[in-house]
Amino acid sequence: MPPGITIAADAPELSAANTGFMLICSALVMLMTPGLAFFYGGMVRVKSTLNMLMMSFISLGIVTILWVLYGFSVAFGTDHGSLFGWEGDYVGLSGLGINQLWDGYTIPVYVFAVFQLMFAVITPALISGALADRVKFTAWALFIALWATIVYFPVAHWVWGTGGWAFELGVIDFAGGTAVHINAGAAALGVILVIGKRVGFKKDPMRPHSLPLVMLGAALLWFGWFGFNAGSWLGNDDGVGALMFVNTQVATAAAMLAWLLYEKLRHGACTTLGAASGAVAGLVAITPSGGSCSPLGAIAIGAIAGVLCAMAVGLKFRFGYDDSLDVVGVHLVGGIAGSILVGFFATGGGQSKAQGLFYGGGLDQLWKQLAGVGAVLAYSLIASAVLALLIDKTIGMRVSEDDEVAGIDQVEHAETAYDFSGAGGGRAPRTAAVPAPGADGADGADGADGGAQDTAQVQRNKKVDA
C-alpha cells in the first residue's frame, strides 16, 4: 500500500471514478482465486482435481467471513505495538457509514475493505498447491482459518497498516510481494516439512492431467492481476496505477520468455507448463516492485525472476521436500526476487521517493527490503509449521495412504472430476453396493475408478426408476 496521500487543508472527497475503478479491481482480484484453482487443478492428477479446486475455493468462504468479523480490524485497525491492529468500528464492518472514506483517500472504507479482502482470500489459497493430493479437507479448512488469523492478518498490518513496523521502516511492498507471496511460499514450506511427501514422490510419474486447464488458470490470474497491482494505488489520480499496469504486463511477458528460453536451452523444448509458470513467476516478482521501477526495470525484474524460478522448481527433487506444484519455487522465490530487486531498481519517481542501488540510492532501500523479506519469511515459516503440527496432532492433517492412492476426490468430496465410463462403449449396469471409500486396500487406484463408475451408475439407475 502506498503511504497516505494527505491533501493538506482540503479533506478528500469521494471520487466516483476512483470508487468505480476500485470496485472493478476488487472483482478482478476475486477472479484470481478461481483462476488459481484452475491453474493448480490442471497440474494435479485426475484423481485429485476436485480437491485442488476446492482447496482454493473454500478460501472464498472462510476468509471472507473472518475478514468481515475481525480480519480487517486486525490488519488495518489502530496499531498496537507495530504488530497488529484493532478497531472496534471495523469489527463486523458494523461501525462504518457508507460514505465514510478510507484514511486520506477518495474511496469508501467498504471499498478498501473489500479490495483487501480479496488479497486475504487468495493468499492462503496459494499455499494449497504445495499440499496437493494428501491433506484432509477439514484439516485444510481449519488451517486456513487459523493461518489467516495468526499469520496473514498481522503480516498485512506489518506491511500495509499505518503503524506496522515494516510500513514505518519504509519496506516497499506495493501489492503483496512479502505479505502475499513470500508469506504464502514460506507457509507452504513450513507445512510440507510437517506433513511430508506424497505417496510415490520421485517414484511415480505425477504428470499434470490437463495443461489447457493450467493455461486457462494462468490466463485468469494474469487478467486478475491487473486489479491486484494497478488497484493497489487505491485510485487513478496521478498515473502510478497506470505505471503499475504497464509494468505488470511487461514483467510478465519477460518472465514467460525467460522461462521458455531457459527451458529450450536446458531441456530442449518450450513447454506449455513453462509458459504458464513463467507468466506467474513474472506476476509474482513485479507485485512488490512494479510501483517503483520503470518499464525497462520491470523487464529486467521479470526476466531475472523467470530464470530464477525455472531453476528453483527443481530444488524439491534435489532436497527431497515435496512441494507438489512448486509454491516455494514460484511464489517464495519469485516474491523474494521481486522484493529484493526493488532495492536495485526503484527509480524514486513512482510509488515511493526511495531510490534503489542502480538509481543512486545506495544500500539504504536494499537492507530495508531484506529486513522485510527475512522477517515475513521466518515468521510465516515457523508459525505455519507450528499450526500444521498442532492440527496434525489433533484431528490429523493427512488422509490415509490407501485413500491417497485411491484418490482424494472421492474420499474427501464424494465426487470425481470426470466420467470416463463412456469411453469404449460403456459398461453393463452394475448395481452392487458402492464400496466404502478406501476399502480397496492396495488395489486402490483401480478400486477408485470402479467405485466411481458404480456410484454414477447407481445414480443413473435411480433417475430411471424415478
Binding site: 499434470p208 527451458e263 531441456h267 530442449g268 513447454t271 507448463l273 513453462g274 522448481v313 527443481g314 527433487f317
Partner: protein, 112 residues
C-alpha cells in the same frame, strides 16, 4: 484362413485402408492400441522434470483372408504402413480354424 494383424502408426491408417480396398479386402477391424517396440516411447518434460512415456499410441488392424492371399496381403500392408522411421510397427499372421458370418451362418472362406 489366416488372421493378419498389423500394429502400426495411427497416421498410416488411411493409406492402409485404401491399399486393402484396392486389393479387394471386404472388411477389417481397427482398434486403438498402445505399446512400444525398440524405440521405447518418448520423454516429456514438466517444469524440468522428465517423464519417460513407454507406451505410445498405435493402431491395430485385423483382417481375415484366404491362405492363398495371406502373403501378398502382408506385403500390401507393410508397403502402405512403412515410413522408414523407427516405430513403424509390425505385421504378423496366424492360422484360423473357423470363421462364421453371424447373419447367414456361412462358414469358412464363404464367411470372409
Amino acid at each position: 484362413m489366416k488372421l493378419i494383424t498389423a500394429v502400426v502408426k495411427p497416421h498410416r491408417l488411411d493409406e492402409i485402408k485404401e491399399a486393402l480396398q484396392a486389393f479387394g479386402v471386404h472388411g477389417l477391424t481397427v482398434t486403438e492400441a498402445s505399446g512400444y517396440g525398440r524405440q521405447r516411447g518418448h520423454t516429456e518434460v514438466y517444469r524440468g522434470a522428465e517423464y519417460t512415456v513407454d507406451l505410445v499410441p498405435k493402431i491395430r488392424i485385423e483382417v481375415l483372408v484366404d491362405d492363398d492371399d495371406a502373403e501378398q496381403l502382408i506385403e500390401v500392408v507393410v508397403k502402405a504402413a512403412r515410413t522408414g522411421k523407427i516405430g513403424d510397427g509390425k505385421v504378423w499372421s496366424v492360422p484360423v480354424d473357423t470363421a462364421v458370418r453371424v447373419r447367414t451362418g456361412e462358414r469358412g472362406p464363404d464367411a470372409l
